[in-house]
Every structure is written in structure tokens, then in C-alpha cells.
């Protein structure tokens, strides 16, 4: 701590020297963003009938679930008293944006995501509960929740309800991540955060990161399974990624231009910060490496005719750079917003520990965890056609009156 005191430039209120929100709070909007984005991609197929992205539909849902399960963990690890976090459900303070987190989270997890996945997989679960043996059979039997009717009429009902849940899920996903933006955007004490654009910027960056992640996951799993990549699918995802990215970047630039042109009392302080302490993470990593470069790569695919292999390479690079860029964006919002004094007269430094409670190591482990969960989910509920379906494709359930 004392070393931080020496790193202070200018004047900070004494209580401001220590940063309140660490790298774990950077992870939290990053992870919820991936959830919201992955779900929006899934809804493209279901609601907006973009058939080309169908191969990623189930994978997107499972990815969203894996990350959603991990989303509250960084928060829990950060709390001074995690054992009291349940109070947010028992005695929520209705004027607090953070208090609503629990409810939005539960709504999204239980009502939207789990229900949609269950409805979509119900037929598979029933068939698996009949075909597997051993303890796994018990797992699948439990997952059927006692519902083993897979008659065309029942499946048709599943499909109808599932469609409605997805429809409900789109505003829910917007709510989930929009509200995360609101948590920051509504803090009038902090000019780096306080902007009504924050929820919408968070939302579009979430869509961008979620689409990029599912695209990478799809290509990665295809490579692992030694299956061909559906190029029409990744081309379509790449196109949507580009569109979402352009909107996201425009919104962020609008925010930046607005700040530069208005140049209010906080501007000199924020401007100095962007040119010094945040130069690498904001200008170089977020804007140049993580935004302009992937937008350029994705746009290149649109204007130049390239081979499948070249396009795959470009999509993989653009996807990775996008994830780095969006992570940097979260970092710059959360950490950047605490590096300057609310007196606008000085700056502090963020010193990240390694094997501490809020250090780099738990952050890395928390980022690995959703991939481990996804691996289990994919083993349990394979998002691609099963062997018996590949051998003899099932007919779509006929609509019975």
C-alpha cells in the first residue's frame, strides 16, 4: 500500500489512493457481456430466422450458460462479506442498480437460458436417457424432469414455447448487460463513467464480444472434432460481427468526440490520463489493436475475394483481437475510472497482486472456469447432430392439429 502512496501524482483525496474495484470487477462486465452477446447470436437463428448461423445455435446457448454460471463468482470473491450477498435477495434496496442484479441474473438464468436450453434439448435428453447406461443414464433421467413425451405434438409445443422464451430472452439479454452499463453510467460522481451512452455502449460491445466468442468456439470445436467448418455460417457470423462492431465503435467515438468538444471541468484530467496511464490499454490495445484492426480484417473479407483457408485465418484473428479489445474496454472503464481523483487534481496507480484474493491468478482461473464448464456441457449435451441422427436424419416434427 505504501508504494501506491509514492506512485500518486498530484493530489488525491486521502481515501482515494487505494483502488476499490479490481481486475475481478473488470471480469464481471466482460463475462456478462459474452453471455448477452452469445444469446443474441442464438436468437438470430431462432427469431430472425438467419438459417446460415444454425450450426452455432446450440453452442451459443451452452456458451452463454457456461459463462453465466461464472458471472457472479468474481463479484462474490470481491465482496468484503460474500456470506451476506444473499441479503440482496431478501432486502433489496430498490433504488440501487446493483440490487437489481440478483433478480435480473436469476430471471435470465432460470427463466430464459435454462428453460430455452431444456426445451431445445428435451428430445435429445429423453433419447439419451434411453440409450445410455450407468450413472450417466441417471443424470439424463434427472434432466428429463419426468417429462419423456417426445411425440410430434409435444415437440411442436416445445418449439412454440422455446420460440416465445427466446423472444422474451432478447430484451432480457439487453436488460442483463444494459443494466451492467447503468451501474457505471449512473455514477454522477465519476465523469469517466457518468454518461447515458454507457448502457448502450456496453450492450453493443457485449454483442460484439459474444459473437466473436461463439465464432471462435465454433471454429475451435470443428477443428477439435476434425469436422469441416461451415463457411456460409462463419461468413454470416463475420458479417454480423462487422455490423455490430461498426455500431459499437461509432457509439464509443461519439462519446469521445462529445467529451473532447464539451471539454468540461473533468476533461483536462481525463485527457491527461488517456495520454499517459491509459495510453497503452486505451489507445493501442482497445482502439487500434482491438477495434480498428479487427474491423479492417472483417471489412477486407467483404471486399476482397479470399480462399476459405484465408477467410478462416482472418476470422480467427479478428475474433481473438475483438475479445482482447473488448476486455481492454472493460479494463479502461473499470480501472481507468478509478485512476484519477474526483478532485481532478491527481492520479493514482493500480497495482495488481498475483496470488492474492483479487489478484491475477484468481482472475485467470475465473476466465478458464467457463471453458471447463462448457467442455462438460458439450460432453453432456452435444450441440451437434448425434450419430444416430447423422445416420438417419430425423424428420422435423410435423405440425399436428
Amino acid at each position: 500500500m505504501d508504494s501506491v502512496l509514492h506512485a500518486v501524482e498530484g493530489f488525491m483525496y486521502p481515501n482515494e489512493v487505494e483502488l476499490q474495484w479490481s481486475v475481478l470487477i473488470v471480469l464481471y462486465p466482460f463475462i456478462t457481456g459474452l453471455v448477452a452477446g452469445a444469446f443474441i447470436l442464438a436468437s438470430l437463428e431462432r427469431i430472425f430466422r438467419v438459417e446460415a448461423v444454425r450450426p452455432t445455435y446450440r453452442l451459443a446457448l451452452l456458451t452463454a450458460l457456461a459463462f453465466l454460471l461464472v458471472a457472479p463468482l468474481p463479484l462474490q470473491l470481491h465482496l468484503g462479506h460474500p456470506e451476506r450477498s444473499f441479503e440482496m435477495y431478501l432486502t433489496p434496496h430498490t433504488s440501487s442498480a446493483m440490487a437489481m442484479f440478483g433478480f435480473v441474473y436469476l430471471w435470465y438464468l432460470m427463466v430464459v437460458l435454462l428453460l430455452e436450453i431444456w426445451l431445445d434439448y428435451r428430445k435429445d435428453i429423453v433419447l439419451l436417457s434411453q440409450r445410455t447406461t450407468g450413472p450417466l443414464r441417471l443424470v439424463y433421467r434427472a434432466l428429463t424432469l419426468g417429462s419423456d413425451d417426445i411425440s410430434p405434438r409435444a415437440l411442436h409445443t416445445d418449439d412454440k414455447v422455446g420460440w416465445f422464451v427466446t423472444l422474451l430472452g432478447i430484451p432480457s439479454a439487453f436488460l442483463l448487460h444494459g443494466y451492467v452499463g447503468f451501474i457505471f453510467g449512473s455514477i454522477k460522481a465519476n465523469p469517466w463513467w457518468s454518461t447515458p451512452l454507457m448502457p448502450i455502449v456496453f450492450l453493443f460491445s457485449a454483442i460484439v464480444s459474444g459473437i466473436a466468442l461463439v465464432m471462435l468456439m465454433y471454429m475451435g470445436f470443428a477443428w477439435l472434432r476434425e469436422q469441416p467448418i461451415d463457411m456460409e455460417c462463419v461468413d454470416t457470423i463475420g458479417r454480423y460481427l462487422l455490423y455490430a462492431f461498426v455500431i459499437d465503435f461509432s457509439l464509443e467515438m461519439l462519446d469521445l468526440l462529445h467529451r473532447i468538444y464539451e471539454a468540461d471541468e473533468s476533461f483536462a484530467s481525463l485527457d491527461f490520463m488517456v495520454h499517459t496511464k491509459l495510453y497503452t490499454s486505451h489507445i493501442l490495445i482497445q482502439i487500434v489493436l482491438g477495434t480498428l484492426l479487427p474491423i479492417g480484417l472483417l471489412a477486407m473479407v467483404q471486399v476482397i475475394r479470399l480462399s476459405d483457408a484465408a477467410r478462416r485465418g482472418l476470422y480467427a484473428s479478428a475474433g481473438l483481437l475483438t475479445l482482447i479489445g473488448i476486455f481492454a474496454m472493460r479494463w479502461n472503464v473499470v480501472i481507468g475510472g478509478q485512476l484519477f481523483s474526483k478532485s481532478f487534481l491527481g492520479y493514482t496507480t493500480y497495482k495488481m497482486g498475483f496470488a492474492t484474493r483479487e489478484g491475477l491468478l484468481p482472475a485467470i482461473l475465473l476466465m478458464i472456469l467457463p471453458f471447463a464448464i462448457l467442455w462438460v456441457l458439450v460432453r453432456l449435451l452435444p450441440p451437434w447432430p448425434r450419430e444416430w441422427e447423422e445416420a438417419k436424419p430425423q424428420e422435423a416434427p410435423s405440425v399436428s392439429a
Partner: protein, 254 residues
């Protein structure tokens, strides 16, 4: 026999459910118990503080008294109250030079030359006990609340330690207690003022630069002072309804 077993299960289930619920309810009743001050009527007071910048000599007595009275950590990152020294070039009020070594706890070393043309003064700071507190607004569980007599307090047995209120305070008045891992801040010495005493900082101030004020008491000299002096609050643009009133507050103060 079967009937008996069923009835036993139902009865014991009911018993467990009801005692559990009663236990939780009782916990909440206890959690809301007011400070033990039998003769104190919170509805008859509305607390504020007056800080007269022209009187402050920067001795740091208030910072030391506060830390001692309230058991605040002596590390230089945790302050319920602190004092800032301003050194302002009259032609460049937008860029004041400010320092607060150890929050002014040990006084201020001479670092400026006398007669250098700048104006210099001390600004004691503390929680502004805002009427529209951003910190109270954002607390996810209502652990931070405004008492009926206008003091912003924290129920430490309820605080999650999420630090959202620390972010929301425009004045930097909150910190996380390093031992208890919950938020801490100035309570306006609530344990003292409800007993008819003044705050520790006001009590030790040698020049009377800090005065506790009760805005609901018509006899309190604060009313006359507010009427006859040029008074301001910190960051009035934040519209928080701050109740720490400053006399002689320079425009350069942040």
C-alpha cells in the same frame, strides 16, 4: 398409524418453518434497533456542520481526535475527516496546488515561501451528510441509510463490502475498514451527539473552525451565521443536498 406419521410430519414441518421465519424476523427487528439513548428524540433534530475556513489553522487536531474517538485505522489511507491545504495563484485558480500529508493528521510542514503572491488556506473535510446522498441511493441492501435526524450512517452488520457507495461519493469520504472489510465513514459522532455532546473534531478544534449545528433548533447560532455570511457547500453542482456548510469557501476548492 400411517395417519399419525403424516400428522407428525406436517406438524413438525410447520413448526420448523414457523420457528425459522420467526428467527429471521427477530434478527431483522434486532438489526433495526436504534442507538441506546433513551432521552434522545431523533425527530427533533436535523444535524449539520459549519466549517469556517477563515478560522482553520491546519493543526490537525480534529483528524487525530476523530481517529482516536472512532478507532479509525492510523494508516494514511483511511480518514473519516481530513484537512487539505490549498495554495492558489490568484490568476490561475483552476490549477490550485493541494496537499494533505497523512490527511493533515500531523499538521503541515512549511513548503511554501511567505509572500509568494499566492493565497493559502486549509479546508477540513468530512462526510457532508447529504440530504440526497448518492451513497445511500446505490447501496444494494440499504446498509447505508439516512437517520431521521439527518445523519448518514452505516449498519456494519449488514454491509456487503461491495464498495459501490465508495464509488458513488463525490467527495471521497468513504473507505473500506481494513479490519472489518465493511465501509466506514464519519457518523458525526452519532454516539456523542445523541447524548447531548458535540463531535470529537468540534470539541478539540482550538479556533472553533468546526461547529456542530442543529438546523431544527431555532436557538442554534447556525441560523444567524448562515444569514450573515457567504456560505457554500462542496461541489454544489452535484446537487446532493450537502449539509456541511463552509464559510469563506474559495472557488478553487474541489
Amino acid at each position: 398409524m400411517q395417519e399419525d406419521r403424516r400428522r407428525f410430519l406436517i406438524e413438525s414441518g410447520r413448526f420448523l418453518l414457523l420457528t425459522g421465519a420467526a428467527g429471521i424476523a427477530f434478527d431483522h427487528v434486532l438489526a433495526g434497533e436504534p442507538e441506546k439513548a433513551p432521552n434522545y428524540d431523533a425527530t427533533r433534530h436535523w444535524w449539520a456542520m459549519l466549517v469556517d475556513i477563515e478560522q482553520c489553522i491546519g493543526c490537525g487536531g480534529c483528524v487525530r481526535a476523530c481517529k482516536d474517538e472512532n478507532g479509525v485505522s492510523h494508516e494514511p489511507f483511511y480518514f473519516r475527516t481530513w484537512v487539505e491545504r490549498y495554495h492558489v495563484d490568484p490568476l490561475d485558480a483552476e490549477h490550485p496546488r493541494v496537499d494533505s500529508p497523512n490527511g493533515g493528521h500531523d499538521g503541515f510542514p512549511e513548503i511554501y515561501r511567505q509572500g509568494d503572491g499566492a493565497k493559502a488556506f486549509f479546508v477540513p473535510k468530512l462526510c457532508n451528510h447529504c440530504e440526497h446522498s448518492p451513497c445511500v441511493q446505490v447501496c444494494p441492501v440499504g446498509a447505508t441509510f439516512e437517520s431521521p435526524d439527518g445523519v448518514v450512517l452505516v449498519d456494519k452488520s449488514y454491509c456487503l463490502g461491495c464498495r459501490y457507495c465508495v464509488q458513488a461519493c463525490p467527495y471521497g469520504c468513504r473507505y473500506i475498514d481494513p479490519e472489518q472489510q465493511v465501509v466506514d465513514k464519519c457518523t458525526l459522532c452519532y454516539h456523542r451527539i445523541t447524548q447531548g455532546l458535540t463531535t470529537a473534531c468540534c470539541e478539540v478544534c482550538p479556533t472553533g473552525a468546526r461547529q456542530l449545528a442543529d438546523l431544527k433548533d431555532p436557538k442554534d447560532p447556525i441560523h444567524e451565521f448562515l444569514r450573515t455570511h457567504t456560505i457554500n457547500v462542496l461541489k454544489p453542482q452535484m446537487a446532493t443536498g450537502a449539509k456541511v456548510y463552509y464559510n469563506g469557501l474559495d472557488g478553487s476548492v474541489r
